[in-house]
Amino acid sequence: MVFMIYYKKILIVLIFVLFGNFIHAITLSADLFSYDENKLAEEFRELDYLENLIIENPGISIDEIIEQNSYYKYFLNSEISSPLGITEISAPGKIPSFWWAFSLSIVGSYTIYGAVAGPIAVGVVYFSTKKNKDETKKAIYGCLTGTVLGLGIRYLTTL
């Protein structure tokens, strides 16, 4: 009798050891595929607004979006807008547009005779970026800053 009880227990253990892999631990049910719909809607409420804003205003820039709602300021500095830490790639030699135009215009305006270097740099950016407005704008800012600084240095050094 005692042998029979032990025999049954040993048999049950053996079944689990031998066929444990075939016993499904997770119970299949439709609930496994459910998700919190309210959380999903809540999570992306602001982004839904942003998506509609972009669809309704094709070509709107990030700056213009931030002017309307500072919540989206994150996009300016996020890794997403600059995944590799490169914010501007356009001018020859992959030099950022601003610094390309700035460097040439500061040297150009300091020497006076090279004052056309800045506008030429802007032109190079304009054509090399296939008329990209944002990059050209950055080059213009670079050119203006460089020109003012170049002339300023020249004025101070000639006093």
Partner: protein, 230 residues
Amino acid sequence: MKTIHIKGLLLLFFIFGNLNITFSQQFHRFSADYTVKYKDREGNPIMKMGRVFYDSKEKKIVIKNGFPVKEHIIYNDTSIYYIRVGNIVDHVSTISPVEFSIFHLALNGQLSNYGLDKAGYTIENVIKDKGLIISSWLPSEKYKHSLGEILVSTKDKKLYGIVFLDLNEKIVSKHVFHKYVNIEGFEFPSEVIRIRYFDNYELYELTSYKKIEVNESGNDEYYNYQIQKK
């Protein structure tokens, strides 16, 4: 008499031949406007918008991103290229077979089980619950110590959800495919929800597709994107 038989056979052949052509329309190109929204671990909102192109013959997923950065992202089986203003700004080596992308599977009519049979998974169990046909899939013998089980559900013969489990049968991520659209017989989910589970938080991601086109004849420069390595 024989002539009548031959004529009849030819007529039948003509009718069924044409029917066959009608019903077995092949889809090889897919393009759509897409928006993907998610939040990073710090809770910062992230959104990308653009258009995706895929040609099952070229086997390249080409993304023409419009927001927040204008760039082209090209995926092939071994690499991802990020291209801005004609320059490659990043190149990542990766193993990510495009044949298991949602685009390839949908174009080839293999979306209902997410191509798991082609990936060496075998079906283990099938049940029906609350209108879903749920099946569990086990990886091949070679990978059963490194890959977990995958659960697939279908609704009205269309893929509804995929649940990825780890080796301890804990849910790692969940994908839900819904709002199917039908374009000339091609069915595609216009919304895909992905939820990734971590120890004490979960991340939601929502991808939506609009303006879906199949077998487009234009835009060859995107479907067969040529990467200019300078």
